[in-house]
Protein backbone atom coordinates (compact mmCIF):
# COMPACT_ATOMS: atom_id res chain seq x y z
CA UNK A 1 0.00 0.00 0.00
CA UNK A 2 2.74 2.42 0.98
CA UNK A 3 4.60 1.46 -2.19
CA UNK A 4 1.51 2.27 -4.26
CA UNK A 5 1.15 5.68 -2.63
CA UNK A 6 4.85 6.43 -3.11
CA UNK A 7 4.53 5.40 -6.75
CA UNK A 8 1.51 7.62 -7.40
CA UNK A 9 3.16 10.48 -5.54
CA UNK A 10 6.40 10.13 -7.51
CA UNK A 11 4.52 9.99 -10.81
CA UNK A 12 2.51 13.11 -9.93
CA UNK A 13 5.69 14.87 -8.83
CA UNK A 14 7.35 14.09 -12.16
CA UNK A 15 4.48 15.72 -14.05
CA UNK A 16 4.51 18.70 -11.68
CA UNK A 17 8.26 19.21 -12.02
CA UNK A 18 8.00 18.94 -15.79
CA UNK A 19 5.26 21.58 -15.84
CA UNK A 20 7.36 23.79 -13.59
CA UNK A 21 10.43 23.44 -15.82
CA UNK A 22 8.28 24.29 -18.83
CA UNK A 23 6.86 27.32 -17.00
CA UNK A 24 10.37 28.56 -16.18
CA UNK A 25 11.23 28.21 -19.84
CA UNK A 26 8.28 30.46 -20.70
CA UNK A 27 5.65 27.92 -21.71
CA UNK A 28 2.21 27.76 -20.13
CA UNK A 29 2.26 24.87 -17.63
CA UNK A 30 -1.44 24.14 -18.20
CA UNK A 31 -0.83 23.86 -21.96
CA UNK A 32 2.21 21.66 -21.42
CA UNK A 33 0.36 19.23 -19.16
CA UNK A 34 -2.59 19.31 -21.58
CA UNK A 35 -0.38 18.43 -24.55
CA UNK A 36 1.36 15.76 -22.47
CA UNK A 37 -1.98 14.08 -21.64
CA UNK A 38 -3.43 14.51 -25.12
CA UNK A 39 -0.28 13.26 -26.77
CA UNK A 40 -0.28 10.18 -24.56
CA UNK A 41 -3.98 9.33 -24.17
CA UNK A 42 -6.04 11.82 -26.15
CA UNK A 43 -6.81 9.70 -29.22
CA UNK A 44 -6.75 6.05 -30.29
CA UNK A 45 -3.52 6.83 -32.14
CA UNK A 46 -1.98 8.36 -29.02
CA UNK A 47 -3.02 5.37 -26.90
CA UNK A 48 -1.52 3.03 -29.46
CA UNK A 49 1.73 5.03 -29.27
CA UNK A 50 1.71 4.80 -25.49
CA UNK A 51 1.21 1.03 -25.53
CA UNK A 52 3.93 0.56 -28.15
CA UNK A 53 6.39 2.52 -25.99
CA UNK A 54 5.33 0.63 -22.85
CA UNK A 55 6.24 -2.77 -24.33
CA UNK A 56 10.06 -2.36 -24.41
CA UNK A 57 9.89 -0.33 -21.19
CA UNK A 58 8.11 -3.18 -19.39
CA UNK A 59 10.75 -5.65 -20.57
CA UNK A 60 13.75 -3.50 -19.66
CA UNK A 61 11.99 -2.75 -16.35
CA UNK A 62 11.68 -6.50 -15.68
CA UNK A 63 15.35 -6.91 -16.57
CA UNK A 64 16.19 -4.43 -13.80
CA UNK A 65 13.68 -5.97 -11.35
CA UNK A 66 15.28 -9.43 -11.61
CA UNK A 67 18.83 -8.11 -11.29
CA UNK A 68 18.17 -5.66 -8.43
CA UNK A 69 16.12 -8.31 -6.57
CA UNK A 70 19.21 -10.52 -6.67
CA UNK A 71 21.33 -7.61 -5.49
CA UNK A 72 23.30 -7.21 -8.72
CA UNK A 73 23.61 -3.82 -10.36
CA UNK A 74 22.74 -4.50 -13.95
CA UNK A 75 22.84 -0.99 -15.43
CA UNK A 76 23.44 -2.65 -18.79
CA UNK A 77 19.91 -3.11 -20.13
CA UNK A 78 20.70 -0.60 -22.86
CA UNK A 79 23.56 -2.65 -24.28
CA UNK A 80 21.72 -5.95 -23.83
CA UNK A 81 18.76 -4.41 -25.68
CA UNK A 82 21.05 -3.44 -28.58
CA UNK A 83 22.79 -6.80 -28.96
CA UNK A 84 19.35 -8.43 -28.67
CA UNK A 85 18.09 -6.34 -31.56
CA UNK A 86 21.16 -7.14 -33.69
CA UNK A 87 20.81 -10.87 -32.96
CA UNK A 88 17.08 -10.73 -33.70
CA UNK A 89 17.84 -9.14 -37.07
CA UNK A 90 20.40 -11.81 -37.89
CA UNK A 91 18.02 -14.57 -36.76
CA UNK A 92 15.03 -13.17 -38.61
CA UNK A 93 15.51 -15.25 -41.81
CA UNK A 94 14.87 -18.33 -39.68
CA UNK A 95 11.51 -17.15 -38.44
CA UNK A 96 10.11 -15.04 -35.63
CA UNK A 97 10.63 -17.60 -32.88
CA UNK A 98 14.24 -18.28 -33.81
CA UNK A 99 14.78 -14.54 -34.01
CA UNK A 100 13.40 -13.92 -30.51
CA UNK A 101 15.45 -16.78 -29.12
CA UNK A 102 18.56 -15.30 -30.69
CA UNK A 103 17.73 -11.98 -29.04
CA UNK A 104 17.35 -13.61 -25.62
CA UNK A 105 20.61 -15.54 -25.96
CA UNK A 106 22.52 -12.47 -27.14
CA UNK A 107 21.24 -10.40 -24.22
CA UNK A 108 22.12 -13.16 -21.76
CA UNK A 109 25.61 -13.54 -23.21
CA UNK A 110 26.20 -9.79 -23.07
CA UNK A 111 25.15 -9.52 -19.40
CA UNK A 112 27.10 -12.67 -18.57
CA UNK A 113 30.33 -11.01 -19.71
CA UNK A 114 29.84 -8.67 -16.76
CA UNK A 115 29.05 -11.62 -14.48
CA UNK A 116 32.21 -13.42 -15.51
CA UNK A 117 34.28 -10.31 -14.89
CA UNK A 118 32.72 -9.93 -11.45
CA UNK A 119 33.04 -13.53 -10.37
CA UNK A 120 36.55 -14.15 -11.75
CA UNK A 121 38.20 -10.75 -11.65
CA UNK A 122 36.16 -8.97 -8.98
CA UNK A 123 35.30 -6.19 -11.43
CA UNK A 124 32.17 -4.34 -10.20
CA UNK A 125 29.25 -5.11 -12.50
CA UNK A 126 27.86 -1.61 -12.06
CA UNK A 127 30.80 -0.35 -14.13
CA UNK A 128 31.28 -3.26 -16.52
CA UNK A 129 27.61 -3.28 -17.55
CA UNK A 130 27.75 0.46 -18.26
CA UNK A 131 30.96 0.08 -20.28
CA UNK A 132 29.36 -2.79 -22.21
CA UNK A 133 26.53 -0.38 -23.10
CA UNK A 134 28.99 1.94 -24.80
CA UNK A 135 30.62 -0.95 -26.60
CA UNK A 136 27.23 -2.23 -27.81
CA UNK A 137 26.34 1.25 -29.12
CA UNK A 138 29.54 1.35 -31.17
CA UNK A 139 29.08 -2.21 -32.43
CA UNK A 140 25.63 -1.20 -33.62
CA UNK A 141 27.16 1.85 -35.29
CA UNK A 142 29.66 -0.39 -37.00
CA UNK A 143 27.19 -3.02 -38.27
CA UNK A 144 24.75 -0.48 -39.73
CA UNK A 145 27.60 1.33 -41.46
CA UNK A 146 29.40 -1.84 -42.47
CA UNK A 147 28.46 -5.51 -42.63
CA UNK A 148 24.69 -5.16 -42.16
CA UNK A 149 24.21 -1.94 -44.09
CA UNK A 150 21.17 -1.90 -46.41
CA UNK A 151 21.75 -3.21 -49.93
CA UNK A 152 21.19 0.22 -51.49
CA UNK A 153 23.75 1.63 -49.00
CA UNK A 154 21.95 4.98 -48.90
CA UNK A 155 21.50 5.37 -45.18
CA UNK A 156 23.38 3.96 -42.19
CA UNK A 157 20.69 1.37 -41.51
CA UNK A 158 20.02 -2.28 -42.22
CA UNK A 159 17.49 -3.76 -44.62
CA UNK A 160 14.16 -4.63 -42.98
CA UNK A 161 14.32 -7.81 -40.90
CA UNK A 162 13.18 -10.94 -42.74
CA UNK A 163 10.38 -11.65 -40.30
CA UNK A 164 8.09 -9.60 -38.09
CA UNK A 165 5.92 -10.08 -35.04
CA UNK A 166 2.22 -10.68 -35.81
CA UNK A 167 -0.07 -7.72 -35.20
CA UNK A 168 -3.05 -8.03 -32.88
CA UNK A 169 -5.49 -5.12 -33.08
CA UNK A 170 -2.75 -2.85 -34.49
CA UNK A 171 -0.41 -3.68 -31.59
CA UNK A 172 2.40 -6.14 -32.25
CA UNK A 173 2.54 -9.39 -30.30
CA UNK A 174 5.32 -7.97 -28.14
CA UNK A 175 2.51 -6.80 -25.88
CA UNK A 176 1.68 -10.42 -25.07
CA UNK A 177 5.35 -11.36 -24.77
CA UNK A 178 6.00 -8.56 -22.31
CA UNK A 179 2.97 -9.29 -20.13
CA UNK A 180 3.73 -13.02 -20.18
CA UNK A 181 7.30 -12.18 -19.12
CA UNK A 182 5.99 -10.06 -16.24
CA UNK A 183 3.81 -12.93 -15.03
CA UNK A 184 6.65 -15.40 -15.44
CA UNK A 185 9.00 -13.12 -13.50
CA UNK A 186 6.44 -12.81 -10.73
CA UNK A 187 6.00 -16.58 -10.67
CA UNK A 188 9.76 -17.10 -10.56
CA UNK A 189 10.34 -14.59 -7.75
CA UNK A 190 7.39 -15.39 -5.50
CA UNK A 191 6.22 -18.90 -6.29
CA UNK A 192 9.42 -20.92 -6.69
CA UNK A 193 12.23 -21.86 -4.32
CA UNK A 194 14.70 -20.59 -6.91
CA UNK A 195 13.01 -17.20 -6.67
CA UNK A 196 13.23 -17.30 -2.90
CA UNK A 197 16.95 -18.08 -3.15
CA UNK A 198 17.38 -15.24 -5.63
CA UNK A 199 15.64 -12.76 -3.34
CA UNK A 200 17.52 -14.04 -0.30
CA UNK A 201 20.78 -13.43 -2.17
CA UNK A 202 19.70 -9.88 -2.86
CA UNK A 203 18.54 -9.16 0.69
CA UNK A 204 21.61 -10.46 2.46
CA UNK A 205 24.26 -12.37 0.55
CA UNK A 206 26.20 -13.52 3.58
CA UNK A 207 23.06 -14.80 5.33
CA UNK A 208 22.11 -16.54 2.09
CA UNK A 209 25.56 -18.15 1.96
CA UNK A 210 25.16 -19.43 5.52
CA UNK A 211 21.76 -20.81 4.59
CA UNK A 212 23.52 -22.95 1.99
CA UNK A 213 22.64 -20.90 -1.08
CA UNK A 214 25.25 -20.86 -3.83
CA UNK A 215 25.50 -17.07 -4.11
CA UNK A 216 27.71 -16.84 -7.22
CA UNK A 217 25.37 -19.23 -9.05
CA UNK A 218 22.38 -17.10 -8.06
CA UNK A 219 24.12 -13.96 -9.28
CA UNK A 220 25.08 -15.62 -12.56
CA UNK A 221 21.56 -16.90 -13.13
CA UNK A 222 19.89 -13.60 -12.25
CA UNK A 223 22.24 -11.70 -14.59
CA UNK A 224 21.61 -14.15 -17.42
CA UNK A 225 17.82 -13.97 -17.02
CA UNK A 226 18.01 -10.22 -16.67
CA UNK A 227 20.11 -9.87 -19.82
CA UNK A 228 17.89 -12.28 -21.74
CA UNK A 229 14.82 -10.17 -20.94
CA UNK A 230 16.56 -6.98 -22.11
CA UNK A 231 17.68 -8.82 -25.25
CA UNK A 232 14.07 -9.82 -25.93
CA UNK A 233 13.11 -6.17 -25.46
CA UNK A 234 15.49 -5.29 -28.29
CA UNK A 235 14.19 -8.14 -30.43
CA UNK A 236 10.56 -7.15 -29.85
CA UNK A 237 11.27 -3.51 -30.71
CA UNK A 238 13.03 -4.57 -33.91
CA UNK A 239 10.49 -7.14 -35.14
CA UNK A 240 7.49 -5.15 -33.92
CA UNK A 241 8.30 -1.49 -34.52
CA UNK A 242 11.49 -0.47 -36.28
CA UNK A 243 12.11 -3.58 -38.47
CA UNK A 244 15.47 -2.05 -39.37
CA UNK A 245 18.61 -1.59 -37.32
CA UNK A 246 19.94 1.97 -37.09
CA UNK A 247 22.25 3.84 -34.75
CA UNK A 248 19.77 5.43 -32.37
CA UNK A 249 17.67 2.30 -31.96
CA UNK A 250 17.65 2.01 -28.19
CA UNK A 251 16.97 5.68 -27.27
CA UNK A 252 17.51 5.07 -23.57
CA UNK A 253 15.03 2.21 -23.11
CA UNK A 254 17.63 0.44 -20.99
CA UNK A 255 18.18 3.33 -18.59
CA UNK A 256 14.43 4.01 -18.47
CA UNK A 257 14.01 0.43 -17.27
CA UNK A 258 15.61 1.46 -13.97
CA UNK A 259 12.92 4.10 -13.49
CA UNK A 260 10.20 1.60 -14.44
CA UNK A 261 11.49 -0.97 -11.95
CA UNK A 262 11.95 1.46 -9.05
CA UNK A 263 8.56 3.13 -9.56
CA UNK A 264 7.07 -0.37 -9.36
CA UNK A 265 8.89 -1.02 -6.09
CA UNK A 266 10.83 -3.77 -7.92
CA UNK A 267 7.60 -5.76 -8.33
CA UNK A 268 7.14 -7.59 -11.65
CA UNK A 269 3.37 -7.05 -11.88
CA UNK A 270 3.61 -3.48 -10.63
CA UNK A 271 6.03 -2.93 -13.51
CA UNK A 272 3.10 -3.27 -15.93
CA UNK A 273 1.44 -0.15 -14.49
CA UNK A 274 4.78 1.60 -14.17
CA UNK A 275 5.73 0.84 -17.79
CA UNK A 276 2.35 2.16 -18.99
CA UNK A 277 2.95 5.37 -17.02
CA UNK A 278 6.40 5.91 -18.52
CA UNK A 279 5.13 4.84 -21.95
CA UNK A 280 2.54 7.60 -21.69
CA UNK A 281 5.13 10.03 -20.32
CA UNK A 282 7.57 9.40 -23.16
CA UNK A 283 4.84 9.50 -25.82
CA UNK A 284 3.43 12.73 -24.37
CA UNK A 285 6.92 14.23 -24.30
CA UNK A 286 7.36 13.33 -27.96
CA UNK A 287 4.15 15.22 -28.74
CA UNK A 288 5.44 18.18 -26.70
CA UNK A 289 8.54 18.28 -28.86
CA UNK A 290 6.46 18.25 -32.05
CA UNK A 291 3.94 20.90 -30.99
CA UNK A 292 5.78 23.17 -28.56
CA UNK A 293 9.42 22.63 -29.48
CA UNK A 294 10.20 21.47 -25.94
CA UNK A 295 12.97 18.88 -26.06
CA UNK A 296 11.69 15.33 -25.59
CA UNK A 297 14.72 14.92 -23.32
CA UNK A 298 12.42 16.36 -20.68
CA UNK A 299 11.11 12.79 -20.34
CA UNK A 300 14.57 11.65 -19.23
CA UNK A 301 14.54 14.43 -16.65
CA UNK A 302 11.11 13.25 -15.47
CA UNK A 303 12.39 9.69 -15.08
CA UNK A 304 15.23 10.95 -12.92
CA UNK A 305 12.76 12.87 -10.74
CA UNK A 306 10.68 9.71 -10.30
CA UNK A 307 13.73 7.63 -9.30
CA UNK A 308 14.93 10.26 -6.84
CA UNK A 309 11.44 10.64 -5.34
CA UNK A 310 11.06 6.89 -4.86
CA UNK A 311 14.55 6.59 -3.38
CA UNK A 312 14.01 9.52 -1.03
CA UNK A 313 10.63 8.22 0.12
CA UNK A 314 12.05 4.76 0.67
CA UNK A 315 15.02 6.10 2.63
CA UNK A 316 12.89 8.38 4.78
CA UNK A 317 10.20 5.80 5.52
CA UNK A 318 12.42 2.90 6.46
CA UNK A 319 13.79 2.86 9.99
CA UNK A 320 16.61 5.32 10.28
CA UNK A 321 20.00 4.34 11.51
CA UNK A 322 21.32 6.37 14.44
CA UNK A 323 21.86 9.93 13.33
CA UNK A 324 25.33 10.89 12.28
CA UNK A 325 27.03 13.26 14.65
Amino acid sequence: MTRLLIGIGAAALAIAVLAMAAALAGHSPADVVGVLFDGALGSPLAIRGTILKSIPLLLTGLCVVIAFRAGVWNIGAEGQFIVGAIAAWMGSPYGTIASMLAAAVAGAVWSSIATAMRLWRNAPEVLTTILLNFIAVHILGWVVNGPLRETSARYPQSDPAASALPQLAEIHAGSLISIATAIAAWWLLYRTTEGLRLRATGLNPSAARHAGINVPAQIARAMAISGAIAGVAGGVELLGVTHRLFERLAVGYGYSGIAVALLAGLHPLGSIASALFFGAFVTGAGELQRTSGISAAIATFGQAVVILAVVAAGALLTSRKPADA
Binding site: W120, I258, A297, I298, I307
Partner: protein, 271 residues
Protein backbone atom coordinates in the same frame (compact mmCIF):
# COMPACT_ATOMS: atom_id res chain seq x y z
CA UNK B 1 53.47 4.55 -36.64
CA UNK B 2 55.56 5.17 -33.54
CA UNK B 3 56.10 8.79 -34.54
CA UNK B 4 52.35 9.14 -34.99
CA UNK B 5 51.76 7.91 -31.46
CA UNK B 6 54.52 10.10 -30.04
CA UNK B 7 53.12 13.11 -31.87
CA UNK B 8 49.66 12.56 -30.46
CA UNK B 9 50.80 12.15 -26.84
CA UNK B 10 50.74 15.89 -25.96
CA UNK B 11 47.31 16.16 -27.53
CA UNK B 12 46.16 13.12 -25.58
CA UNK B 13 47.43 14.54 -22.30
CA UNK B 14 45.41 17.71 -22.87
CA UNK B 15 42.41 15.72 -24.08
CA UNK B 16 42.34 13.53 -21.00
CA UNK B 17 42.23 16.47 -18.55
CA UNK B 18 38.45 16.12 -17.88
CA UNK B 19 38.95 12.41 -17.16
CA UNK B 20 41.98 13.06 -14.95
CA UNK B 21 40.16 15.67 -12.87
CA UNK B 22 37.09 13.45 -12.56
CA UNK B 23 39.35 10.59 -11.41
CA UNK B 24 40.93 12.77 -8.74
CA UNK B 25 37.59 14.10 -7.54
CA UNK B 26 36.05 10.64 -7.39
CA UNK B 27 39.13 9.35 -5.60
CA UNK B 28 38.62 11.84 -2.77
CA UNK B 29 34.91 11.05 -2.55
CA UNK B 30 35.50 7.30 -2.48
CA UNK B 31 38.20 7.75 0.14
CA UNK B 32 35.51 9.40 2.27
CA UNK B 33 33.33 6.33 1.86
CA UNK B 34 30.94 7.10 -1.00
CA UNK B 35 30.61 5.85 -4.56
CA UNK B 36 29.41 8.77 -6.64
CA UNK B 37 28.26 7.34 -9.95
CA UNK B 38 26.82 10.79 -10.59
CA UNK B 39 30.28 12.09 -11.49
CA UNK B 40 29.22 11.56 -15.12
CA UNK B 41 26.26 13.88 -14.58
CA UNK B 42 28.44 16.38 -12.71
CA UNK B 43 30.83 16.54 -15.65
CA UNK B 44 27.99 17.02 -18.13
CA UNK B 45 26.30 19.67 -15.99
CA UNK B 46 29.63 21.47 -15.54
CA UNK B 47 30.28 21.42 -19.28
CA UNK B 48 26.86 22.93 -19.80
CA UNK B 49 27.02 25.68 -17.17
CA UNK B 50 30.57 26.51 -18.21
CA UNK B 51 29.57 26.95 -21.82
CA UNK B 52 26.52 29.07 -20.86
CA UNK B 53 28.57 31.37 -18.63
CA UNK B 54 31.84 31.07 -20.50
CA UNK B 55 33.75 30.73 -17.24
CA UNK B 56 35.46 28.13 -15.08
CA UNK B 57 33.41 29.24 -12.09
CA UNK B 58 30.22 28.58 -14.01
CA UNK B 59 31.40 25.04 -14.58
CA UNK B 60 32.09 24.56 -10.89
CA UNK B 61 28.57 25.82 -10.12
CA UNK B 62 27.05 23.13 -12.33
CA UNK B 63 29.09 20.41 -10.67
CA UNK B 64 28.20 21.75 -7.22
CA UNK B 65 24.48 21.60 -8.02
CA UNK B 66 24.63 17.90 -8.91
CA UNK B 67 26.97 17.06 -6.03
CA UNK B 68 24.66 18.83 -3.58
CA UNK B 69 21.74 16.60 -4.57
CA UNK B 70 23.98 13.56 -4.29
CA UNK B 71 25.10 14.67 -0.85
CA UNK B 72 21.56 15.16 0.39
CA UNK B 73 20.61 11.66 -0.76
CA UNK B 74 23.79 9.84 0.23
CA UNK B 75 24.70 11.66 3.44
CA UNK B 76 21.41 13.01 4.81
CA UNK B 77 18.91 10.41 3.54
CA UNK B 78 21.42 7.54 3.54
CA UNK B 79 19.80 6.45 0.29
CA UNK B 80 21.33 3.94 -2.09
CA UNK B 81 24.32 5.60 -3.76
CA UNK B 82 24.29 3.59 -7.00
CA UNK B 83 20.64 4.30 -7.72
CA UNK B 84 21.01 7.97 -6.74
CA UNK B 85 24.05 8.37 -8.97
CA UNK B 86 22.31 6.73 -11.91
CA UNK B 87 19.29 9.01 -11.44
CA UNK B 88 21.52 12.09 -11.29
CA UNK B 89 23.12 11.13 -14.59
CA UNK B 90 19.68 10.90 -16.19
CA UNK B 91 18.75 14.19 -14.52
CA UNK B 92 21.79 16.00 -15.92
CA UNK B 93 21.33 14.40 -19.34
CA UNK B 94 17.64 15.37 -19.59
CA UNK B 95 17.90 18.80 -18.04
CA UNK B 96 20.93 20.00 -20.02
CA UNK B 97 19.37 18.80 -23.29
CA UNK B 98 16.08 20.50 -22.39
CA UNK B 99 17.62 23.85 -21.44
CA UNK B 100 20.08 23.71 -24.34
CA UNK B 101 17.15 23.46 -26.74
CA UNK B 102 15.29 26.29 -24.96
CA UNK B 103 18.14 28.78 -25.14
CA UNK B 104 19.20 27.80 -28.63
CA UNK B 105 22.96 27.94 -28.45
CA UNK B 106 25.52 28.53 -25.79
CA UNK B 107 27.91 31.44 -25.72
CA UNK B 108 31.12 29.55 -26.21
CA UNK B 109 34.27 31.50 -25.64
CA UNK B 110 37.45 29.63 -26.26
CA UNK B 111 39.54 28.87 -23.21
CA UNK B 112 43.26 28.38 -23.07
CA UNK B 113 44.21 25.03 -21.65
CA UNK B 114 47.87 25.90 -21.07
CA UNK B 115 47.05 26.61 -17.41
CA UNK B 116 44.53 23.88 -16.77
CA UNK B 117 46.52 20.95 -18.14
CA UNK B 118 49.56 21.53 -15.85
CA UNK B 119 47.17 22.18 -12.96
CA UNK B 120 45.39 18.88 -13.58
CA UNK B 121 48.52 16.79 -14.14
CA UNK B 122 50.86 18.31 -11.53
CA UNK B 123 49.44 20.87 -9.08
CA UNK B 124 46.18 19.20 -8.22
CA UNK B 125 47.62 15.68 -7.63
CA UNK B 126 50.33 17.14 -5.36
CA UNK B 127 47.78 19.14 -3.38
CA UNK B 128 45.49 16.12 -3.07
CA UNK B 129 48.27 13.81 -1.96
CA UNK B 130 49.34 16.37 0.65
CA UNK B 131 45.77 16.81 1.86
CA UNK B 132 44.99 13.10 2.07
CA UNK B 133 48.22 11.85 3.61
CA UNK B 134 49.87 14.81 5.33
CA UNK B 135 47.04 16.60 7.13
CA UNK B 136 44.70 15.66 9.98
CA UNK B 137 41.74 16.68 7.82
CA UNK B 138 42.92 14.16 5.23
CA UNK B 139 43.35 11.50 7.87
CA UNK B 140 39.83 12.10 9.13
CA UNK B 141 38.46 12.15 5.60
CA UNK B 142 40.01 8.73 4.97
CA UNK B 143 38.73 7.53 8.35
CA UNK B 144 35.21 8.47 7.22
CA UNK B 145 35.77 5.97 4.42
CA UNK B 146 37.42 3.25 6.48
CA UNK B 147 35.65 3.36 9.81
CA UNK B 148 33.12 6.19 10.23
CA UNK B 149 32.07 4.89 13.67
CA UNK B 150 35.62 5.26 15.00
CA UNK B 151 35.71 8.79 13.60
CA UNK B 152 32.45 9.58 15.36
CA UNK B 153 33.71 8.11 18.64
CA UNK B 154 36.71 10.41 18.35
CA UNK B 155 34.28 13.30 18.25
CA UNK B 156 34.44 14.13 14.56
CA UNK B 157 31.70 14.18 11.98
CA UNK B 158 31.87 11.67 9.15
CA UNK B 159 29.15 13.62 7.38
CA UNK B 160 31.17 16.85 7.43
CA UNK B 161 34.18 15.12 5.90
CA UNK B 162 32.02 13.53 3.21
CA UNK B 163 30.58 16.91 2.34
CA UNK B 164 34.12 18.28 2.17
CA UNK B 165 35.06 15.45 -0.22
CA UNK B 166 32.05 16.25 -2.40
CA UNK B 167 33.09 19.90 -2.39
CA UNK B 168 36.59 19.04 -3.60
CA UNK B 169 35.12 16.74 -6.26
CA UNK B 170 32.82 19.55 -7.42
CA UNK B 171 35.70 21.98 -7.90
CA UNK B 172 37.81 19.44 -9.80
CA UNK B 173 34.98 18.09 -11.95
CA UNK B 174 33.71 21.62 -12.53
CA UNK B 175 37.08 22.64 -13.97
CA UNK B 176 37.17 19.40 -15.95
CA UNK B 177 33.73 20.05 -17.42
CA UNK B 178 34.66 23.62 -18.31
CA UNK B 179 37.83 22.35 -19.99
CA UNK B 180 35.75 19.81 -21.93
CA UNK B 181 33.27 22.38 -23.23
CA UNK B 182 35.48 25.43 -23.69
CA UNK B 183 38.98 24.15 -24.47
CA UNK B 184 38.43 20.77 -26.08
CA UNK B 185 35.19 21.62 -27.88
CA UNK B 186 33.39 24.59 -29.25
CA UNK B 187 30.75 24.81 -26.56
CA UNK B 188 28.14 22.37 -25.32
CA UNK B 189 26.79 19.33 -27.12
CA UNK B 190 24.19 16.89 -25.81
CA UNK B 191 25.72 14.08 -23.75
CA UNK B 192 29.21 15.43 -24.44
CA UNK B 193 30.67 13.79 -21.31
CA UNK B 194 30.31 10.51 -23.26
CA UNK B 195 30.99 8.17 -20.37
CA UNK B 196 34.15 9.87 -19.06
CA UNK B 197 32.65 9.81 -15.57
CA UNK B 198 32.17 6.05 -15.70
CA UNK B 199 35.67 5.56 -17.06
CA UNK B 200 36.90 7.73 -14.18
CA UNK B 201 35.33 5.31 -11.69
CA UNK B 202 37.19 2.46 -13.33
CA UNK B 203 40.49 4.39 -13.24
CA UNK B 204 40.02 5.03 -9.50
CA UNK B 205 39.86 1.27 -8.96
CA UNK B 206 42.79 0.70 -11.32
CA UNK B 207 44.80 3.26 -9.36
CA UNK B 208 43.88 1.47 -6.15
CA UNK B 209 42.42 4.58 -4.54
CA UNK B 210 45.82 6.33 -4.60
CA UNK B 211 46.66 9.68 -6.17
CA UNK B 212 49.73 8.27 -7.89
CA UNK B 213 47.63 5.44 -9.30
CA UNK B 214 45.02 7.92 -10.46
CA UNK B 215 47.58 9.93 -12.40
CA UNK B 216 49.26 6.87 -13.89
CA UNK B 217 45.90 5.32 -14.77
CA UNK B 218 44.73 8.47 -16.49
CA UNK B 219 48.02 8.69 -18.38
CA UNK B 220 47.75 5.08 -19.55
CA UNK B 221 44.27 5.88 -20.67
CA UNK B 222 45.31 9.06 -22.42
CA UNK B 223 48.03 7.24 -24.31
CA UNK B 224 45.58 4.49 -25.30
CA UNK B 225 43.41 7.29 -26.65
CA UNK B 226 46.41 8.71 -28.49
CA UNK B 227 46.93 5.32 -30.06
CA UNK B 228 43.33 5.45 -31.22
CA UNK B 229 43.86 8.87 -32.85
CA UNK B 230 47.04 7.58 -34.44
CA UNK B 231 45.23 4.53 -35.80
CA UNK B 232 42.51 6.77 -37.20
CA UNK B 233 45.06 9.00 -38.84
CA UNK B 234 46.95 6.03 -40.24
CA UNK B 235 43.73 4.79 -41.88
CA UNK B 236 43.94 1.27 -40.51
CA UNK B 237 41.59 -1.39 -41.80
CA UNK B 238 39.84 -1.35 -38.38
CA UNK B 239 36.45 0.32 -38.91
CA UNK B 240 36.00 3.80 -37.43
CA UNK B 241 33.12 2.75 -35.15
CA UNK B 242 35.10 -0.08 -33.61
CA UNK B 243 37.95 2.35 -32.93
CA UNK B 244 35.43 4.51 -31.08
CA UNK B 245 34.70 1.55 -28.83
CA UNK B 246 38.37 1.06 -27.87
CA UNK B 247 38.41 3.37 -24.80
CA UNK B 248 35.58 1.34 -23.26
CA UNK B 249 37.21 -1.98 -24.16
CA UNK B 250 40.48 -0.76 -22.66
CA UNK B 251 38.63 0.27 -19.49
CA UNK B 252 37.02 -3.18 -19.24
CA UNK B 253 40.40 -4.84 -19.64
CA UNK B 254 41.85 -2.49 -17.03
CA UNK B 255 39.09 -3.46 -14.60
CA UNK B 256 39.79 -7.14 -15.19
CA UNK B 257 43.54 -6.73 -15.13
CA UNK B 258 43.79 -5.24 -11.65
CA UNK B 259 45.66 -8.07 -10.07
CA UNK B 260 46.33 -8.87 -6.47
CA UNK B 261 44.29 -7.74 -3.55
CA UNK B 262 42.45 -4.56 -4.34
CA UNK B 263 42.01 -2.61 -1.14
CA UNK B 264 38.92 -0.47 -1.32
CA UNK B 265 38.07 1.84 1.57
CA UNK B 266 36.43 -0.39 4.18
CA UNK B 267 33.10 1.44 4.39
CA UNK B 268 32.87 2.35 0.69
CA UNK B 269 29.28 2.61 -0.51
CA UNK B 270 27.70 1.54 2.76
CA UNK B 271 24.87 3.91 3.50
Amino acid sequence: MLELVAASVPLALVASVPLLLAVQGELVVQRSGMINLGVEGMLLAAAFTASVTGTLLGGVAGAVAVAAIFGVFAIVFRADQIVTGTALNLLALGLTAFIYREIGSTAASAMQSNVIAPFAWIVSPLLLALLLWRTTTGLRLRAAGENPDALRSAGHSAAAHRWLALGIESVLVGIGGAHLALALSNGFAENMSAGRGYIALAVVIFGRWRVKGAVIGSAVFGIAAALQYALQAAATPLPYHLLLATPYVVTLLILCGVTGRVVAPESLGKS
